[in-house]
């Protein structure tokens, strides 16, 4: 019997029982679609997080005061000690490293911003002109903070897009004066709307020179120093240098923490990849269920078609041929089911992409291959028993069935 005839005969008998065939294809395609959509979501979440991290800046090393290599409370804390703060000069000293191209010290606080009768609570970020570049932010209107002496406390500020909208509406903001706490600041620029990134909404902040922020909040320390390494390869050197420089400046004590963006990123990457695998695995259980369904329905099909099997044997079909016919049916079923499921899953991915445009949902190629493989595999595996059963039927008994 020729292969094409085997396939034609099998597809004929599938068409012969439409409802059964459609239900099996549906079960198979739901299984495949589930794997595609779920791994697509997982992969999308991973890409989203990776994207968020890189939008923070490239080749970033982050320095902050205090050493947190042992978790939670250090011995110093118990006797009322707080970590030595990082000074603005400490931050500037990091530029001595050949591996560092730019730094942006950060201090943070919250206060009231008011314009006439309008006022609201706002997060104030104190930094330097370099922040714009280091942190990959974009200006909407006007200028960013002026470059120059980091110790100069100029009374200028840059507004987040939402703050500008709330205070000024459609009116011109650049050049106007707003009140932050008890001081007046001239608006020199407005940030472009960027939305949330890493839980920190740049649309709802006000940025002032770091020295002005120190005066505003009556502090002197630096909350974070964002250090941009010269290249990807320089990240480790920048980290080492930062530790070294600050140790020397802090009389030999290692009392700062230096993390690299890469290390954090790699951790998230691992966690999310594991999650993707896990949801993909759970989804593939539905494929196994679909496989068992196929086995069940094939067994019913064998007993429904006992007479036909007996006839085929009487007409000269050896057992192997009968087995192949049933295999062909299973392969066709799971093949069509997989393709339908793939289309269904990709459609689902597109729909989710439309609903959550910020989530880059894409089913990874390995998941698509695995889903197809599992679908075909289970289809064939679970048809082995029914096909053998059909092949072993005694033709005399089969034909005698009425």
């Amino acid at each position: 019997m020729k292969l094409i005839d085997v396939l034609l005969f099998a597809s004929g008998s599938l068409r012969g029982s439409r409802t059964r065939t459609l239900l099996m294809i549906l079960a198979m395609s739901i299984g495949v679609a589930a794997v595609v959509v779920l791994t697509g979501l997982g992969e999308g979440a991973r890409r989203y997080v990776v994207g968020q991290f890189s939008s923070l800046g490239t080749n970033l090393v982050i320095v902050f005061p205090g050493r947190t290599e042992t978790a939670g409370i250090g011995p110093g804390m118990l006797i009322g000690q707080i970590p030595r703060e990082l000074s603005l000069d400490d931050a500037q000293a990091l530029l001595r490293s050949y591996a560092v191209s730019r730094i942006a010290p950060l201090t943070i606080g919250s206060t009231q911003v008011s314009l006439g009768a309008l006022n609201r609570e706002v997060i104030v970020l104190g930094s330097t002109a370099e922040l714009l570049e280091v942190r990959h932010m974009n200006m909407g209107q006007g200028q960013f903070l002026p470059a120059g002496d980091v110790h100069a406390s100029e009374s200028v500020c840059v507004l987040g897009a939402k703050i500008k909208r709330e205070l000024f509406g459609q009116q011109q903001a650049v050049g106007a004066w707003v009140r932050l706490g008890d001081r007046r600041f001239r608006v020199v620029g407005v940030m472009a709307s960027q939305g949330e990134s890493m839980g920190f909404n740049t649309d709802e902040i006000v940025i002032v020179p770091i020295a002005s922020a120190h005066m505003l909040f009556n502090t002197s320390g630096v909350f974070r120093v964002l250090v941009e390494a010269k290249s990807r390869d320089a990240i480790e050197a920048a980290k080492r240098d930062a530790e070294q420089i600050l140790m020397v400046r802090h009389s030999g004590e290692r009392d700062v923490t230096v993390i690299t963006q890469d290390a954090v990123l790699a951790t998230f990457d691992r966690i999310l990849r594991a999650l993707t695998l896990a949801v993909g695995g759970i989804a593939s259980i539905s494929l196994a269920v679909a496989g068992i369904l196929i086995m069940n329905v094939m067994l019913i099909a064998v007993s429904q078609r006992i007479k036909e099997i007996g006839l085929l044997k009487a007409l000269g079909a050896p057992a192997a041929q009968i087995r192949n016919l049933f295999f062909a049916e299973a392969i066709l079923l799971s093949g069509i089911g997989s393709v339908a499921g793939l289309l269904l899953g990709e459609a689902g991915v597109v729909v989710i992409g439309r609903i959550y445009p910020s989530l880059p949902v894409v089913a990874p190629w390995w998941a698509v291959l695995a889903a197809l493989g599992t679908a075909l595999g289970t289809g064939i595996l679970f048809s082995v028993w029914p096909a053998r059963r059909a092949a072993r039927l005694d033709p005399v008994m089969a034909l005698a069935r009425s």
Binding site: M1, A314, L315, G316, A317, Q321, L399
Partner: protein, 226 residues
């Protein structure tokens, strides 16, 4: 053509051994027209299944066309069935989802004959059996006589040397039954060995050679002796 020597067939029913055939000796020459008659349970269908290689003897030897076919493997049996044996059943056994033409084509497909040759042979058979205008009808759209004609066309599509018919007229009325019998007898006249199993003496009596079976043994034979 067909030679059975001391053939027995014993079935195990529960823990009992039931002999359906006991020591059958039978010689059938090529082109013979033989009927096997007997009451139900006499073993005539079992004998037919043995001759058609759907079953195996428990003891004895069976030679078909000069070769010993007693101990063939399943696959070899299937090949002999495909090439040398055609079956006609009481219940027609047409595949309900296939058209008349496709039912006739089935043995040719199973034997792996190329598609264009199949088409030609099927067209010829449809013509020969007066089914040309019924080619695309499914079995449930055919009358009983037409169905059995399709079944006979199917049985002869591989040009078998032996045609085995088990109560071929059992599900038909008198007139169509007679038509079907005429068809089979025409085939026998063309040197096909025809063996008909029936309980009806009026049908069995038309054969040149008539075997009577009781309790798994051939008790009486009329007509030409081997």
């Amino acid at each position: 053509m067909i030679r059975l020597e001391n053939v027995s067939r014993i079935f195990a029913v529960g823990d009992q051994q039931v002999a359906a055939l006991r020591g059958i000796n039978l010689d059938i020459a090529a082109g013979d027209y033989v009927s096997i008659m007997g009451p139900s349970g006499s073993g005539k269908s079992t004998l037919l299944n043995l001759i058609g290689l759907l079953d195996r003897p428990s003891s004895g030897t069976y030679r078909l066309d000069g070769g010993d076919v007693t101990d063939l493997t399943d696959e070899q049996q299937a090949r002999v069935r495909s090439e040398k044996v055609g079956f006609v059943f009481q219940a027609f056994h047409l595949v309900p989802r296939l058209t008349a033409a496709m039912n006739i084509e089935l043995p040719l497909i199973l034997a792996g004959i190329p598609a264009d040759e199949r088409k030609a042979r099927v067209a010829q058979l449809l013509e020969n059996y007066g089914l040309a205008d019924r080619a695309d009808h499914r079995p449930d759209q055919l009358s009983g006589g037409q169905r059995q004609r399709v079944a006979i066309a199917r049985a002869t599509s591989m040009h078998p040397a032996v045609l085995l018919a088990d109560e071929p007229t059992g599900n038909l009325d008198q007139t169509t039954g007679k038509e079907v019998l005429n068809l089979l007898e025409q085939l026998a006249a063309q040197h096909v060995t025809l063996i008909i199993v029936t309980h009806d003496p009026a049908i069995g009596g038309r054969a040149a050679r008539q075997l009577h079976m009781v309790d798994g043994q051939i008790t009486d034979e009329t007509g030409r002796s081997p």
